[in-house]
């Protein structure tokens, strides 16, 4: 019973991270219909920058702030330089280009900071079944998620962003600067992604540290429906808890395969995800 409780609580805090990174993916997908495979790499570079800043200044929170800002800028740069030129090309093109960016950024991280694991601090005390750090992780993710949802649903900016995503030509004729909206979307998503990176990384930072998390985040996003932020957040938490049980009872090495199995089963039964809206094609 004790183990079950531990696993559940551990799963909730892990799930918060999947939810956050999944949310980053969904924001971009809704805005540009692109799955940003480079998201973990953008978060990785931000986290490495946080590491350097923290090491240099001794302040975790300064590093935290730098990471978020750096992540936003990286997201904006990626959208304008790599994604914008490909907006009329096939889906495959943007998948490949973001994969290329993933490879480059991971390699660059290894070049600058070496492939060796570096100690990366937790935000708060992390000892215990459900530590202060775990609470922080869950709270900050919920707060940020709520903020993002409020922005999208209730602000004029959010309305413009949604219009730009759903019907870009129509939005243009209504005075919406669609390109700017896409860039803002990527910036927002990258900021959320960087947050997820900072939360997921401790205790050790190395170039492949976010690979597993990314797979789970993508699974959460797909389960929730790639254009459903609320579903993704719920999916992240549920997946976190579920995978925690798998890790506890079947061994941590089986977790990724379990995630894959869950992904396949859910998508076979509901190809647009649990809460996604399938777009029927008119023939």
């Amino acid at each position: 019973m004790q183990e079950f409780l531990d696993l559940t609580l551990g799963g909730i805090s892990a799930g918060a991270v999947y939810a956050a990174l999944g949310l980053a993916l969904v924001i971009i997908y809704r805005a540009t219909r692109v799955v940003n495979f480079a998201q973990p790499a953008l978060a990785l570079i931000s986290t490495y920058l946080a590491y350097s800043v923290t090491k240099g200044t001794g302040s975790y929170w300064l590093g935290f702030a730098v990471a978020i800002v750096a992540g936003t800028l990286l997201g904006v740069a990626t959208e304008r330089l790599l994604i914008r030129p490909l907006r009329h090309r096939s889906e495959l093109s943007s998948i490949i280009v973001t994969l290329g960016l993933l490879l480059v950024l991971q390699a660059v991280a290894g070049m600058i900071w070496s492939n060796e694991p570096l100690a990366f601090p937790y935000a708060f005390d992390f000892v215990g079944r459900f530590s202060a750090n775990d609470l922080f992780v869950v709270l900050v993710v919920l707060v940020i998620a709520a903020l993002v949802l409020v922005v999208f649903k209730y602000t004029p900016l959010g309305l413009r962003m949604r219009a730009a995503a759903f019907a870009p030509d129509v939005a243009r004729t209504l005075g919406v600067r669609v390109g700017l909206m896409l860039t803002v979307g990527w910036g927002m998503a990258a900021a959320v992604g960087s947050l997820a990176g900072l939360l997921a990384t401790p205790p050790f930072l190395f170039p492949n540290v976010l690979d597993g998390v990314f797979v789970y985040a993508l699974t959460a996003a797909v389960l929730g429906g790639l254009d459903n932020p609320l579903g993704t957040i719920a999916g992240g938490f549920v997946l976190g808890v579920g995978l925690s049980y798998v890790s506890g009872y079947f061994g941590p090495e089986t977790v990724t395969i379990a995630a894959l199995a869950i992904l396949v089963i859910v998508l076979t039964l509901r190809p647009a995800g649990l809460f996604g809206r399938a777009k029927a094609r008119r023939v």
């Binding site: 004029p156 759903f166 030509d169 243009r172 004729t173 209504l174 005075g175």
Partner: protein, 235 residues
């Protein structure tokens, strides 16, 4: 006034518009007619900036529109209602309307505009919180026009507003356009296949065929010209 000179537009090798010229005085209602594929939709899309022109000039009120981005043209007072209305089905009726005026600074004016649109089209007010996807064809057209009016445009481009609509609703929309012209000096360019209803409220008409202007005249003359009607307008 709207002035178009020597406009040519091509999709790859296909010439959609070939040397088209058009003039509409302020406060005028002009119908653009012709069969399918004549280039009517391309003309409107080029004016609103969605389609780049290969040659030619478009000016509104002396301001150059050619080559400008669509959102800048919209902010210059040009509203475009595409074929089918172009309502964003994933947004509610209210959101669609609000979207129409977001670029205007004056909040009070935006709220006033929304009230006026609801007054013009009461069914929209009833459904204001519903998703646009749930609206019927006629209601969507009303929403599209209402949304266009939200920005208090000076030039309104309408692409086949009567398509798929019951004659009663079409007549109502035409009446509303005429009233708006009278009250606000709105300039309207109206593309229609249903030439009869368009010519009933228009001052002038242009007839397009295969990307070229084949006839220009007052609405009354076009209605009276049997030969022209048979050849290009299908009635």
């Amino acid at each position: 006034m709207l002035e178009i000179e020597g406009l040519s537009v091509a999709y790859g090798a296909v010439r959609a518009l070939d040397g088209v010229g058009l003039t509409v005085d302020r406060g005028g209602i002009t119908a653009v007619l012709g069969a399918n594929g004549a280039g009517k939709t391309t003309l409107l899309r080029t004016i609103s900036g969605l389609q780049p022109a290969r040659e030619g000039r478009i000016t509104w009120d002396g301001k150059e529109l050619t080559g400008r981005a669509p959102d800048r043209i919209a902010r210059a007072g040009v509203a475009h209602v595409p074929e089918g209305g172009g309502v964003i089905t994933e947004l509610t009726v209210d959101e669609n309307l609000r979207l129409g005026a977001l670029w205007r600074r004056d909040r009070a004016d935006r709220a006033a505009a929304k009230r006026e649109v609801y007054e013009l089209f009461p069914p929209l007010e009833e459904r204001s919180a519903k998703f646009a996807a749930t609206l019927s064809g006629g209601e969507r057209q009303m929403l599209a026009i209402g949304r266009a009016l939200m920005s208090r445009p000076e030039l309104l481009l309408l692409d086949e507003p009567s398509l798929g609509l019951a004659p009663l609703i079409t007549a109502r929309i035409m009446r509303i356009l005429r009233d708006l012209r009278a009250s606000t000096g709105l300039t309207v360019v109206l593309v229609e296949q249903n030439a009869h209803s368009a010519l009933s409220i228009a001052d002038n008409g242009y007839v397009l065929a295969l990307g070229r202007v084949v006839a220009v005249d007052t609405a009354a003359e076009l209605l009276a010209d049997d030969g022209l009607r048979h050849a290009y307008l299908g009635f």
